[in-house]
């Protein structure tokens, strides 16, 4: 097919498909900066995943149309940008369905705990704190991953 021949697809898809790539990046950033503020959306990120899927469809269909339009430079661009868009689009599903389940099985040590082992550690104010100072009170001990 020669360039300029009746190109397939609506114009916004034909010429604007590359916009899907920044949208995909924005969607990824939006999950970590915006959607995480609501526990329900953080734990069950279906809006983010659905938007991501729509954007990915946009990118794949658009890149396919650009590929069909022929000129090698256009094809190369479509391939590179399409591949990048695909990669970005897959990051969130990978994080949600893969990475976040990377947690070891509970250990026998943890399972066997009936008495909380005492400890003394330094707190965020530089003060030394022990579990034993809280004897006579209920204590919720929260272990968290911390900064990576």
């Amino acid at each position: 097919m020669s360039e300029g021949a009746t190109a397939p697809g609506p114009w916004w898809l034909r010429n604007g498909w590359w916009l899907g790539v920044p949208f995909a990046v924005a969607n990824l950033i939006a999950y970590f900066t915006f959607f995480v503020k609501w526990p329900d959306l953080r734990d069950h990120p279906w809006p983010s995943l659905l938007i991501g899927l729509l954007i990915l469809t946009w990118i794949v269909v658009g890149a396919g149309l650009a590929w069909k339009q022929g000129a090698w430079l256009r094809r190369l661009g479509a391939l590179a940008l399409g591949a990048f868009g695909l990669l970005v689009s897959l990051l969130l599903p990978f994080y949600v369905f893969g990475l976040s389940y990377q947690v070891p099985e509970p250990t026998a040590t943890t399972e066997a705990l009936t008495v909380a082992p005492d400890f003394t550690l330094t707190d965020d104010q530089g003060a030394s704190r022990s579990l034993s100072e809280f004897r006579g009170k209920k204590v919720l001990i929260v272990f968290y991953r911390g900064w990576w």
């Binding site: 026998a108 707190d123 965020d124 704190r129 579990l131 204590v139 919720l140 991953r145």
Partner: protein, 105 residues
């Protein structure tokens, strides 16, 4: 958890959080997130190991970290309830802690 701190304290529960972060990193996090309970620093993961919670290679740089876990300790120091998530993205819901407290009576 910070949001429910007042409610927890009203029910006689103190909150202690432990991670492998340095006190300096914890201080920054406490300030930026407005956390009012102690963030304890366990850089060698000694206490993390004591509770069997080491997650090898958990960090991006390949070092180990604590797996997320929560323990409810009673007035006598006994472990009365624990929750070990299988998905570290999904954090503990305060309601679960209050349910556990209700069960304790």
């Amino acid at each position: 958890m910070q949001l429910n701190l007042a409610e927890l304290r009203k029910r006689g529960v103190e909150v202690l959080a432990i991670s492998g972060d340095s006190p300096e990193e914890s201080r920054k996090m406490a300030e930026s997130a407005g956390i009012e309970f102690p963030l304890l620093s366990d850089p060698d993961l000694t206490v993390v190991d004591l509770y069997g919670l080491r997650h090898d290679g958990a960090s991006i740089d390949g070092s180990s970290a604590a797996r997320p876990a929560t323990f409810l300790i009673d007035e006598q120091g006994a472990v009365r309830w624990k929750e070990l998530t299988e998905n570290w993205r999904i954090r503990l819901r305060p309601e679960r802690v209050f349910e556990a407290l209700d069960d304790l009576g």
